[in-house]
Subunit: 245 residues, 2 copies
Amino acid sequence: MKGKEKKAVILLSGGLDSTTVLAIAKDQGYFCHCLSFSYGQRQTIELERAAAIADKYGARHLVLNIDLGKIGGSALTDTLEVPKVVRNFIEDECSEERIPVTYVPGRNTIFLAYAMAWAEVLGAWDIFIGVNAMDYSGYPDCRPEFIKQFERLAKLGTKSGVTQEQVLTIQTPLMYLTKKEIILKGLGLNVDYSLTHSCYDPDKQGRACGLCEACQLRLKGFSEAGSVDPIQYQGGKGEPDVESS
Amino acid sequence: MKGKEKKAVILLSGGLDSTTVLAIAKDQGYFCHCLSFSYGQRQTIELERAAAIADKYGARHLVLNIDLGKIGGSALTDTLEVPKVVRNFIEDECSEERIPVTYVPGRNTIFLAYAMAWAEVLGAWDIFIGVNAMDYSGYPDCRPEFIKQFERLAKLGTKSGVTQEQVLTIQTPLMYLTKKEIILKGLGLNVDYSLTHSCYDPDKQGRACGLCEACQLRLKGFSEAGSVDPIQYQGGKGEPDVESS
């Protein structure tokens, strides 16, 4: 990878989805500039994983401290309790009742705004984000129409939108994949999922709870992909006490 | 102002424009939640002024620390030199050559994204921002079409966009006013402009340089409004050595 490399900004949380996205972007020949956020989330373990993952892919890694916690309104940044319930996560409609307490108001808009700013400074024309319309759990800012709208905004709100030379594209390679398909895609690209972290409520050793929405989606995905999740769960080695085998 | 107050989020920099906007929102009966950003800008004096101004208007004031400086790309966050040139600032077209080094990539997108997030948490349906199409000096994210596009994004990217109950409006009361008209509007609302700060390059005592674009626009505005700028300039009391009388 020398000479005129094409650059991309990758929104990297350290989770399963964004790590798969990084592997996809790398596979497509991009020089990857990974962007992570420290936003008062309770699980700072994500950032350690993100750093290790970026390092593994020889990617640049920038962590921005943002004060999302001061705004509040989410179980991920406030002290609301993270729900541990078993329910059907795959739905087609986005309705008010389906918006969970783990939804962080404005999060993807803020993340994409920073990614757009960094892309403009870097001269990158692609932003990769691991949003997904299959298991977004009712988050309004994971929908494809939201992403398209952001592209239109970026076209107007940046220097390139003025000069018309090139426009920013937001790449969402996971948008229409199930968790199973995402994992199969990643395994095909030799992603080391033991480095990733998804749990909303890990213990002090960083072990996943196995009971929150993120854990259950993940376990279900590995099970359906005919694979075993390599991370550690609080219930001991292997899967915890949920239907995943 | 009791009972069911209508709430607004005001993007308040502590400058002349955003202070006028706060006065306008207050005059319209909004309970104002002012949002300021600490983003590695060289003039932290702005934040002190913003706090004093919010206090004067009995408004809530939230300051978010954001890492815009880490992204770079602007004379306002990097160590690029702030230009001190006299030129014609009022132009109709936004062209590449007109984008100045003081342009901060993504700034208004990031600011509006936070304002949107806070509005969602507060249950506010109006965001006030002091952007202006007359003297935006070539900033792509000050244009009316950019603001309209952000409203469309907010409609999709928030809970309210899902429930359809109400949509966020971005109020830009200064959009088509000249600096003279902004100042006249503010003086009519008894704005104390001595509290405001506009200079890109103040000295250690916080006195304005009188030479940067922001200072010159301001001085020209006061002069045309038949008024005297009450802030202190480095050239001594009153106006510095520019044509403004």
